[in-house]
């Protein structure tokens, strides 16, 4: 089976081949429990993603942007970070959010239309607000990294971004700032082949990771459907940043199995055959195959995770549907630290 078209060009870093066999030494420094955790998070995340699509169809969520196929990119990278590190996500990083310990019900308040940005506590989970204006969050990650470096902390910041967002000016400004200031930042591009309806080849004529050289920082192209490879390159980038050696640009080659969002109709621009082909590169199947073959897990472990995912997804559903609309005063509550009298007047008028 042919790899997705946007994977062409430079071979990505791989630990496991798409069939699950190791390319070289598959030891990325993780113990058995952590190896299990990677599989567990990917299975749980996929099950929750599918639940979210169902919740949207049932009117419990507004538009929902799924991430099926990108589990390894998100789980592997988020798992490589420490508790003091900070993530600045896009709108498609629910799997990364789970790994960071974000309460999924609070996260999904966003897609339920309950509240904007980060309905969870971004400081507690060190996971920034969901960010729709693509690439703007890259600069936040870099600014945060500059800030913690000034404090002498060894924390790093990771900004997720997509292949489409890499066309934005803010992507460039963020990458340039990071390199110029040697900020402890990781710019992590999930190249899933599609920016809504536009394929990567119409976004960029080159390979995104290669831009790193022009900025003056290391660039890495990794198989984003190989969770061990993603973990390894992200961990290396984080270690480098912690040592004061500056930022890294990572391009993870992955594939968006679903539509851009539940409001999108991918059949208008994409052949089903392409999606079916991409399923042969499924990140969960690849990793599970290796775990079982290498004797790190058996079928009962996998089945256990699948049961857990089921319970987890249903628990999230239950918590979410119990959430009614927030009080209308929330519109006014946090606009200013101290609201001006004229806004207080509007609050009284709105709330009666």
């Amino acid at each position: 089976v042919e790899a997705p078209a946007h994977w062409a060009g430079t071979d990505p870093v791989r630990v496991l081949d798409p069939d699950g066999s190791p390319v070289g030494d598959p030891d990325v420094g993780l113990g058995r429990e952590e190896l299990h955790a990677l599989l567990r998070w990917m299975i749980v995340a996929r099950r929750l993603d599918r639940e979210c699509v169902a919740l949207q169809r049932q009117g419990e969520l507004t538009v929902y942007p799924g991430f099926e196929g990108q589990e390894a990119s998100q789980v592997g990278s988020a798992f490589a970070l420490g508790p003091e590190d900070f993530v600045f996500p896009t709108f498609r990083e629910l799997a990364a959010a789970l790994v960071r310990g974000v309460d999924p019900v609070r996260y999904l308040w966003y897609h339920r239309g309950t509240w904007h940005g980060g309905p969870y506590d971004p400081r507690a989970t060190r996971f920034g607000p969901i960010c729709i204006p693509v690439a703007t969050q890259v600069i936040h990650a870099v600014g945060y990294a500059m800030g913690v470096a000034k404090d002498g902390s060894d924390a790093v910041a990771l900004g997720y971004v997509g292949d489409g967002a890499a066309s934005e000016g803010d992507f460039h400004e963020g990458a340039n700032l990071a390199a110029v200031f040697g900020a402890p930042a990781i710019i992590f591009v999930q190249n899933n082949g599609w920016a809504i309806s536009v394929p990567t080849r119409l976004q960029t004529a080159g390979e995104i990771w290669k831009r790193a050289e022009g900025y003056g920082m290391p660039g890495v192209r990794v198989d984003g459907n190989d969770v061990l490879a993603v973990y390894r390159v992200t961990r290396e980038a984080a270690d480098r940043a912690r040592r004061g050696a500056g930022p890294t640009l990572i391009e993870a080659l992955t594939y968006r199995i679903g539509a851009h969002s539940t409001a999108d109709d991918a059949s208008r621009y994409r052949d089903d055959a392409e999606v079916e082909g991409a399923r042969a590169f499924d990140p969960i199947a690849r990793y599970r195959t290796w775990l079982l073959a290498a004797g790190h897990a058996d079928d009962s472990v996998v089945a256990g995770f699948e049961d857990e995912a089921e319970t987890f997804a249903l628990g999230v559903r239950e918590g979410l549907v119990a959430q009614g609309p927030p009080p209308a005063e929330w519109m006014f509550d946090w606009v200013y630290a101290v609201p001006p009298a004229s806004l207080e007047q509007q609050r009284r008028e709105a709330l009666g």
């Binding site: 971004p122 204006p133 703007t136 600069i139 870099v142 600014g143 000016g169 700032l177 509550d333 946090w334």
Partner: protein, 325 residues
């Protein structure tokens, strides 16, 4: 008594703020060794070091976005946008994140960011160097917007802006950067959200801000000399939030209002002030609110800018018409 230019007073405000709060950073284009194209940051890098005062690559979205990230890390950024029109590339960051982050995080993340923008015209600048961007910022919930008219007040407003937990856009009138004012710099006095009366009079209230305030005062003297009309002159200072109490009191006491700004007429501050005074004190209005503003055209070249900017004569005529109504 010391004499201050606005540039000197602003520089002193930055230095004093950095001395009392070691979380304050100053950055932007050419603010380091050069001290800013207007020298407002002159000497700051020398005094506070390149970790706290630094040049950035040219990229205003990067500057504003970095301030957002730095706020997450507990830093208070004072950024310089080199000129009014150069602030436009940062609008997405300012509107989507700087202004909204408190709301987007349900009050968990403050954005104590000060955005200094040398603004307005009157200095024979090139194109893109004489614009009045205030409506873009005033129209954005979550921002505060101020514009000083004198050196001492520039000090006070910039100190207030830096101390504010919310983002404040400071529109500095380039045309008033160099005239001097004698007095002691103090952060005490009217804060953000407060206008101030600079001249008393009961025939009419003339409201201006930034570089227009001095023209309003001149026009007031003109009509006093020529027609014996005594008008009140208000320096608005705070464009958002507006000092509605003072505006209402002025209408009640003078019955007539003239608003003056360099920005184009349509949806300028004059439109908002006219609507507000009508809502607050319609029964006390003796005449329609007059607006003396820039025209609805792109800011013109240097040789024509005095045809664009509200002149003392235009303001005086508007006062006479409004008082005679």
């Amino acid at each position: 008594m010391t004499e201050w230019t606005m540039v000197g007073a602003l520089r002193r405000a930055l230095a004093d703020a950095m001395r009392v709060d070691d979380r304050v950073l100053v950055f932007g284009e050419d603010v380091g060794a050069l001290g800013g194209v207007f020298r407002v940051t002159d000497g700051l890098q020398e005094e506070f070091g390149a970790e706290r005062v630094f040049d950035t690559p040219i990229g205003e979205a990067g500057i504003a976005g970095a301030a957002v990230g730095l706020a997450f890390a507990g830093w208070k950024s004072v950024v310089e946008m080199q000129f009014d029109a150069f602030s436009y590339p940062s609008l997405e960051q300012v509107i989507d994140h700087v202004a909204k982050m408190r709301t987007r995080t349900r009050g968990r993340i403050d954005m104590p960011i000060t955005i200094r923008i040398p603004s307005f015209g009157g200095i024979k600048g090139k194109e893109h160097h004489g614009e009045s961007p205030e409506t873009y910022y005033v129209h954005t919930a979550g921002l505060k917007v101020v514009s000083p008219s004198t050196p001492l007040d520039a000090y006070r407003l910039l100190r207030a802006a830096i101390a504010d937990p919310d983002p404040v856009v400071v529109l500095e009138p380039k045309a008033r950067y160099w005239p001097k004012e004698a007095g002691e710099l103090t952060a005490d006095g009217p804060g953000i959200g407060e206008a101030r009366v600079l001249r008393e009079g009961n025939a009419c209230t003339v409201i201006g801000y930034g570089a227009m305030v001095v023209r309003c005062l001149e026009a007031a003297e003109t009509v006093a000399a020529s027609d014996g009309i005594e008008v009140r002159v208000v320096d608005l200072r705070s464009l958002s939030p507006l000092d509605l109490d003072l505006l209402e009191a002025c209408v009640r006491e003078t019955g007539r209002v003239v608003v003056v700004h360099e920005a184009p007429l349509t949806l300028g501050m004059g439109a908002e002030i006219a609507a507000r005074v009508m809502e607050l004190a319609f029964d006390h209005l003796e005449a329609p609110v007059a607006r003396v503003t820039g025209w609805d055209v792109p800011y013109p070249p240097a040789s024509l800018e005095q045809h664009y900017l509200p002149s003392v004569e235009r303001i005086a005529d508007a006062i006479r018409r409004t008082v005679a109504y």
